[in-house]
Symmetry: C2
Subunit: 581 residues, 2 copies
Amino acid sequence: MYRTHDCGELRISNQGQKARLAGWVQRLRKLGGMTFIDLRDRYGITQLTIDEKAPKELVAIVETLGREFVIQAVGTVAERSSKNPKLPTGDIEILLEEIKILNASELPPFTIEDESDGGDELRMKYRYLDLRRAPLRRALELRHRMAHEVRKYMDSQRFLEIETPYLIKSTPEGARDFVVPSRIHTGEFYALPQSPQTFKQILMIAGYDRYFQIVRCFRDEDLRADRQPEFTQIDCEMSFVEQNDVLQVFEGLAKHLFKNILNLDFSDDFPRMSYSEAMNRYGCDKPDIRFDMKISEITNSVKGKGLDLFDSAEYVGAIVAENCAEYTRKQIDQLTEWVKRPQIGAKGLIYIKLAGNDVKSSIDKFYTPDELKTLATTVGAKGNDLILILAGTKKTTLPALSALRLEMGTRLGLRNEQLFKPLWIVDFPLFEYDEETQRYYAMHHPFTSPVAEDLPKLETNPAEVRANAYDFVINGVEIGGGSIRIHDAKIQRTMFKVLGFTPEEAEKQFGFIINAFRYGAPPHGGIAFGFDRWCAIFGGSDSIRDYIAFPKNNAGKDTMIDSPSTISKEQLDELGLRVSD
Amino acid sequence: MYRTHDCGELRISNQGQKARLAGWVQRLRKLGGMTFIDLRDRYGITQLTIDEKAPKELVAIVETLGREFVIQAVGTVAERSSKNPKLPTGDIEILLEEIKILNASELPPFTIEDESDGGDELRMKYRYLDLRRAPLRRALELRHRMAHEVRKYMDSQRFLEIETPYLIKSTPEGARDFVVPSRIHTGEFYALPQSPQTFKQILMIAGYDRYFQIVRCFRDEDLRADRQPEFTQIDCEMSFVEQNDVLQVFEGLAKHLFKNILNLDFSDDFPRMSYSEAMNRYGCDKPDIRFDMKISEITNSVKGKGLDLFDSAEYVGAIVAENCAEYTRKQIDQLTEWVKRPQIGAKGLIYIKLAGNDVKSSIDKFYTPDELKTLATTVGAKGNDLILILAGTKKTTLPALSALRLEMGTRLGLRNEQLFKPLWIVDFPLFEYDEETQRYYAMHHPFTSPVAEDLPKLETNPAEVRANAYDFVINGVEIGGGSIRIHDAKIQRTMFKVLGFTPEEAEKQFGFIINAFRYGAPPHGGIAFGFDRWCAIFGGSDSIRDYIAFPKNNAGKDTMIDSPSTISKEQLDELGLRVSD
């Protein structure tokens, strides 16, 4: 037996006991005639102590130790003279009696500490060393715990976890597929799933009633920071449900996780906000509601006073930063530069500062103090507030106001990582109109059902039809989304018509699922959550990469194993493939 | 709300209550003036009843119903006059008051019954209909339950479930990889994992101590019956362990599953059998020990009596079929034909029948009755037993005897599907010698550690070195296998030497994992279980296909979605690939 205890286990109550531990040398310190070794494993750190009067052989071995050596140590548990209250084992130490080097280690290329001195690339290449650091270990422990609690809850709600295939079929809609050449059927390809969408609908048609799966999905997109070519979803579907049934079950899941992972109670229902309210008051469909600072449209209140910026604008909107009237010229200039960056793209920033009865603004040439005060009242400003105003097209100004709002929230410390504000967004539009191709596209997918009361408008005014679709948002991050699917063949036909498909085209593109619908499809709907992102949010991080054991870098590469890489000519020949010159 | 109860829920205690159900029409029967509808969902079947005196509109709708229509029904729970004891809901029926067709169904191409009239191919194409049959539903429910219990046990033993990547690197050793062309890095490929072997070892080096994952694996092999290109493993690894630690933890897992899935208690330790005993006494490395009928080698007992079949044989072995002396000439002839089939490949079958003091044999020209009786005693035969003997090379005769033993076990009803006999096979050889290439190959993989006491023979007599490797077998089916890995760099170097690798070749082929070993690798070992197969065994089936929701056929095709299939020229161009002519 390699060990009697792990490195996080021993306490003062074990005093006098003999213990055998195994782990990695985290730190070595010499003090007077004493040597202290911090021994680390997944469970904690225990201090081993040896003094110079120890047997020579023992001292000799200790002399050869280095950081990250794997050792086995035997000794007696003793009370420490100088205790370490930061460590659960900090009251004791082990007086070393035997030691064995199980494996030496070369000097790691970076420090294995909470804050490492290694750069991103180096730590990716030596991911096995980076993973030894406590923050990453805690991230993966959290992920394990999350997955386990998701499964516990889903099982308690009679959901069956059913594995769907990874070698499926490439479809032209949506993002780009990764494909897998078939050797047996040369010239043919499987595709890796972007999501198990059709399979989960098939499972409903097959009568499985409640399905879920924690499942890998694949998207061959051009990578951005924090996008991974493979990512994990909690994928769910239910039969004989309406929107409210789905929201209740999954609000239950979220509350279960808040309680069991973070020990947070949410007794009230999560708020539900319509897509249009989210867009109008927060400028985006995933508002961070940890703080207020809502957007007010003031287009009609500001026109006709000779300020061209406003007079020529399709849209003028404002946010109110409470008690920020003290902002200096320099701070305002900085904010102005910030909104003018290409990522935000505003032309400029207008401010109004309130200070008691005083009012100061970058537009006081065009508006009287009273007009400015009225405007302030309109947007709900008071006291020492600062009003920030952007103008332009509605399509660009709302997102810019949203970004400015989040930036101000961050600057004012209103976005506490320990505070969680979940939110449902509902009543999404069913369609998006694309100016370029002059046609409607399904905002979610072509099987998303319209809200019943909007059905009469489906053919006459598609733009105004709302979808039975919903997103789940925490702290401004979209964690999940789903919809009630169409199960009525007639509505489905109209849907395809609005989308510009002939019945033949629909059949060709969505063939086997349309076929399956002919044999008794129940009403059904579902949701999918981004598991990597949910873990990161719960871990208080905005990077998913730390919550994935072996992520790819921004170029889609795994530099640890050096993948992707070339394959042999024999492999290509067997697959009947040639790489183009 | 679509339903107040599911179709398996109502009992006599609900009598008089109003209930709303939704589901599929399983059967429609008319009897006198009554119509009976069996309404089915995942949870059961409930009988709906309507008589001719019901409102016309209601009768009219019922008239239009067909099999597999999806309906919603409202009515009052009543006691049945003729109860059905086979159904949990068999004491009641619903007196129909309202009915709504949620979706019609075309006539299914085969019957949705426990025994369907549809052929394999048709049922694969309409998998969503096949999945409605109760045996498949029970199989997937069992699978869900199994996975859930695996996770519960592993979590209780402090294992972390950690997801490893699916887009990894192709390696030349082992079976053929499925590859995934990279678009961003044209000409380069990812590979789909055959198993997470290197990643789980990396996780041990990273200090994660106890890892598991229920994970999909991929092998591009020529398919045989019951092989799937994608399959699921329970993949596990532990640090600071010796073989016995691993066996104990996973014997615990098996006992947990036996108890919680099948309600079977196993208080005793599972037997452990050496590879050599398994080969010598059962003719294979995965013996079915639900019955005895062990193989006895009688090579030396039968030689020199002038029977060329024996005299020229390298090996002669026998099994004893108890109380089978009554076997007729015809039965023996049949068995003889059976062993002569190419799959078995025996040249012939020798028998000895005991009947009290009498003895009858196909070789009584060469052996006296006393000699035959002595032989019978040697192999442990008595009473009315039948001795069956095969001869030839050891390499071909032992497997033939194994097959014959299993066949006799089946014919004699000794292989009860409800009886479970788990078994560990240990002490596998470390190497296999390949005559063709005249070199040793690692029987498991090059990181499998040798048994300590055999270490001195590693270079001098590799063939006799046993591995710290083990297989888990239930009822003659290999469910899992694993090993303690090498963590000592010196032994690893010797291992590569015996396998004929230069250090450079080893570095090239196993590069990054060898590198990882330089930074403090703990002693570690693990195991992987075939999850599909384990589910099938527990379900009492020998086909894994029913335990996979969407399996591929024997040609690796998913005929439901028609995959693999061709992709567009644009997709190929983006990947920089051409299909060879």
